[in-house]
């Protein structure tokens, strides 16, 4: 099904034909990685997978709006597309899924998609919802104190915005105008709890006023729309004008993780209808309409991405798992203590 695509008169600042194609490639790569994760899970090869499907556009759009190599990201566990668009490789992603000893994120200690990639300016996160939001604010504060022109992107789902710490973080950020961008990827469900049981308001962005910062809503299934909004917020932050709360409306195509079954709380019709919102065919159409891409290139990209995912899978599966000797590493700076 070909969805409606919007015609844009001119491209937003910083977006070229090449970057648009790159964005598309990243989305395709992420989807294939995501599919591979669930395939491995169903094969019994990995015990756990968390999906990104439905979020690819918002995350890739946001990633491209940052200054790569300078700006920092404090993500959450659904940000596979964001990671793969901000320098993380498919091999690194698969190493994490297989919980290998040389897994860059955590040496096999964390659940999948709990990123930590210093090389890519991606900070370490845990499974504790919203605990990372204050960290992002603290990082932004540090860059501000050191007068470095670094912006910190902090992402989270709409469920996070119920945690007290989320509010404390935005409160502080607004008071001190820290150079941060808060990006809520609202996929309408926190596991099984729908938005209307999560908050009394229609938009997460409406909370921004309570913290004295601007709140902006965008279509999270449109990478260019998300890019535009995030880019503007990043510039504001870099110019010392303080943080912005962005709500990218998207959806969650699959269950929360491999341990969830959304058929228990969503109707089959509802789940089926989600397919019409898939950002990848939508972006494909948008790019084709404007002559940025043709079918041949699309096929090439898909083939290349699949090859990357296959290579990464085979390679990661061969790598060594951690052993008992690795139990006490990285406990303190000087090794394990009594």
């Amino acid at each position: 099904m070909k969805s409606e695509s919007k015609v844009r008169a001119s491209l937003p600042e910083g977006l070229t034909a090449d970057t648009l194609r790159d964005m598309y490639y990243r989305m395709v790569l992420t989807r294939l990685c995501d599919d591979r994760a669930f395939a491995l899970n169903r094969q019994g090869k990995i015990p756990f997978a968390a999906t990104c499907q439905g979020h690819e556009a918002a995350q890739v759009g946001a990633a491209f709006a940052l200054k790569r190599g300078t700006d920092w990201v404090v993500p959450y566990y659904r940000d596979t597309a964001l990671a793969l668009a901000y320098g993380v490789t498919p091999r690194e992603q698969l190493m994490c899924l297989f919980a290998r000893k040389d897994d860059v994120f955590s040496s096999g200690r964390q659940f999948p998609n709990h990123y930590s990639v210093p090389r890519c300016n991606i900070a370490s996160i845990s499974s504790i919802i919203a605990a990372h939001v204050t960290h992002g604010v603290g990082m932004a504060l540090a860059f501000m104190m050191r007068k470095q022109p670094v912006v910190t992107l902090i992402t989270f789902g709409e469920g996070s915005t119920s945690e007290g710490e989320w509010h404390e973080a935005l409160n502080f950020a607004g008071i001190h105008k820290v150079p941060a961008v808060f990006l809520c990827e609202n996929n309408e469900f926190a596991i099984s709890v729908p938005q209307k049981l999560q908050m009394a308001i229609a938009n997460v962005a409406d909370r921004a006023a309570g913290y004295g910062i601007p709140g902006v809503i965008c279509d999270g299934t449109d990478p260019v729309a998300t890019y535009t909004v995030v880019h503007e917020a990043v510039e504001r932050a870099r110019n010392g004008e303080g943080p912005t709360l962005i709500e990218a409306k998207c959806y969650r195509a699959m269950s929360h993780t491999s341990d969830d079954n959304q058929a228990t709380y969503r109707t089959p019709q509802e789940i089926e209808a989600l397919k019409t919102r898939d950002p990848i065919p939508r972006f494909e159409g948008w790019l084709k309409d404007r002559g940025f891409i043709d079918d041949e290139t699309i096929a090439q990209f898909k083939k290349k991405a699949q090859a990357e995912v296959d290579e990464a899978t085979d390679w990661a599966e061969e790598q060594a798992p951690p052993t008992e000797e690795d139990l006490y590493t990285h406990l303190y700076a000087s090794g394990p203590l009594s």
Partner: protein
């Protein structure tokens, strides 16, 4: 050598480190113009500016959480929790996050953070200004927990904590702030974290203690010395990592162990010390391990009688020393 109070030691440690290292800053409630509710940071705002002496909103979880982020980004934050009784909202950030960052990222991120807070009773602080919290945290690998009780230790260990690459929970016994005075060496002076101090050498029994109780134990030891009981007092100074070697060496020498802490008895630090001694020095023990601790009630009450019933006194400690010596 200058003589200072514990409070002055804490103040000077922070002041000198902030002068020496531009990465060090303080965030907490009332640390700015008010100078902290005990006047510890008096003058800091004028000297170091608003950027480095930050009055935070009344939100403990984010006081620590934001400090965690700043530490991850290479700063050396000192997060102050106004009273240890208020630390519980920050438990998530201290235990769930700060303690695990290095381990969970395999060294990709680190968290050189200090969380400072006053604890303990003896100031008529009642149920919510008197608790001891070390037992809630010392269970957690990845954290270090300091409990100095002399001005020299407070100053030297706080400098060590600020310079430490790992998160340190720095617990200051509020009764010692102005009560305890002592000499502190001049210049760049540190005391290592994780090393106990022999507050009083002896041969008849080993008292293992920390905090205000160190001073009470020494007082009790002097009292029973005239009765022929020679007690050795070991001030742990750090609750994690614990100086097990010092404890075991002392107990192997005296063969009798008395643990004293103000915190409630059940599941307190004394339980771990007891288990360690029993595991490693059972055949050197000439008497059961003894603990003198706070009672197992939720907290210390406001009435003087409640506070006195809660806090171990030198008399009570001396009584336990006598009983142990004659066992």
């Amino acid at each position: 050598m200058p003589v200072k109070t514990v409070l002055e030691g804490v103040r000077d440690a922070m002041h000198d480190e902030m002068k020496r290292d531009p990465r060090v800053f303080i965030m907490g409630e009332d640390v700015g113009p008010r100078g902290n509710v005990f006047l510890i940071t008096k003058g800091f705002l004028e000297e170091f500016g608003r950027d480095r002496v930050i009055d935070t909103p009344l939100a403990e979880a984010s006081i620590v959480g934001i400090a965690v982020g700043a530490a991850m980004a290479g700063m050396r934050p000192i997060a102050e929790i106004q009273f240890a009784d208020f630390i519980y909202p920050a438990y998530n950030q201290i235990v769930g996050e700060a303690a695990k960052i290095r381990y969970r990222s395999a060294g990709g991120n680190t968290c050189p953070l200090v969380v400072r807070t006053p604890y303990g009773g003896g100031v008529r602080g009642a149920l919510s200004h008197s608790v001891s919290v070390e037992a809630l945290f010392y269970h957690v690998p990845g954290l270090k927990i300091c409990v100095p009780s002399t001005p020299a230790d407070a100053q030297g260990m706080l400098v060590s904590a600020i310079r430490d690459e790992d998160p340190v929970l720095f617990l200051e016994h509020k009764r010692t702030y102005r009560l305890i005075k002592g000499e502190v060496p001049e210049g760049d002076y540190t005391v290592p974290i994780g090393k106990a101090d022999i507050a009083r050498p002896g041969k008849d029994l080993s008292v293992i203690t920390y905090g205000l109780m160190r001073h009470f134990a020494v007082e009790a030891a002097e009292k029973v010395a005239s009765e022929g009981v020679d007690a050795e007092v070991i001030d742990l100074r750090t609750v994690r990592p614990m100086d097990r070697a010092a404890v075991l060496e002392s107990v192997r020498k005296t063969r009798r162990a008395l643990i004293v802490h103000e915190d409630q008895k059940f599941g307190g630090v004394g339980a771990e010390i007891s288990a360690t001694i029993a595991e490693e020095a059972l055949f050197d023990l000439d008497a059961p391990i003894r603990r003198v601790c706070g009672p197992d009630v939720p907290a210390m009450g406001y009435a003087k009688e409640y506070e006195e019933a809660f806090m171990p006194s030198p008399e009570r400690i001396a009584g336990a020393m006598r009983e142990l010596a004659e066992f």
